[in-house]
Symmetry: C2
Amino acid sequence: MSGTTNIDRRSARRQETVAEIVAAAWELAREEGLTGLALRDLGARVGMKAQSLYSYFSSKHEIYDAMFLEGYLAFAEMVETTSAEEAGNGDPDALLRRAARGFVAFCTSDPARYQLLFHRTVPGFEPSPESWAVALAAYERSRQSLSTAGIDDQASFDLWTALVTGLAGQQIANDPGGDRWEQLVDPAVDMFRVHLRETANAEGEKA
Amino acid sequence: MSGTTNIDRRSARRQETVAEIVAAAWELAREEGLTGLALRDLGARVGMKAQSLYSYFSSKHEIYDAMFLEGYLAFAEMVETTSAEEAGNGDPDALLRRAARGFVAFCTSDPARYQLLFHRTVPGFEPSPESWAVALAAYERSRQSLSTAGIDDQASFDLWTALVTGLAGQQIANDPGGDRWEQLVDPAVDMFRVHLRETANAEGEKA
DNA sequence: GTCTATAATCTGATAGAC
DNA sequence: GTCTATCAGATTATAGAC
């Protein structure tokens, strides 16, 4: 009787614990720096010995991988929110502004996450194919959303990502907690919009 | 007889060794990652026991500090080269292009250095006041140089640094060894130039 | 699934001989 | 100034009892 249910319960409990561990890992990464994360501290934070973590993850890199995955799930959610039709009643300029603000806020709200997702900073760590797939899907979703705002070629999108990661990076590195670069998000979007218009014109002239 | 000379010789020899250690530290940082640098490996690389490094540096952070300092000296040199009058016969647009290309090449040629100089990625490390002074001077020199190309307010310069560090960061993280974002440097400069023209117009209209 | 015990190694750093 | 010796502790990770 109810063998499956017990298994479900057990795996649900397990997933809870896994999630708790990953949450604690993020906490520690924020406090100690991404590469300062230590399994001893992590175990202590969730009320376990460090060794017990190996019941849930087979290596430290696997924990980083779970963090990476979770980070990109949060990224995807942010993309979805800023892309929402209702939020901007179809105005492409408003969409661009929302996307840029959302992205920079996403980054500055968690510098450790910004580091893990957008820079290769943990020695030896490489995301698993599964996590990469999620990252890529989120990236594609973002690209698709912004294509409706006029960013419809790869080069423009690459320039866009450089611009927004650059704003976030400068804010985090040189004015943590402040808004010196966050203030520049709207001007940067204006600048980028002119660029879009000009490249569109150039295409038109060629035709 | 030549007591001072002996001291000079000795301190010169010492400086040579210090420079050798820092050079080896950069090598290792490039190979193992900036935070993967270990004193044992560093000692081995220069033909010493790790403990002997303490004759030259009193802590690991002090080595990072020397790397930081050296990095900003190289940065200053790059700024000087790209700012050179001769290199662009006074054409402000050419200066902007040279500055951007020079900066991105400076970053991509050494990702570990990019990380140390422009992101806070080593847990617990903070540059000494002396090193900060050099960094700040190089920053100011860059700002001064680019002010002759029309970047004459802080906000525009901040936007500029976000743009070029962003291009470099994306190149390093997502296409190491390639040129996907490096190709976008000139288009990015064009985009930025239009921004400069527009903000200048806006200022003019206010007056 | 968590523990103890511990392996095996690496960490940065110090003391003191030469 | 470099060495040996070593500290004191951290690190990730495994084996096996409960």
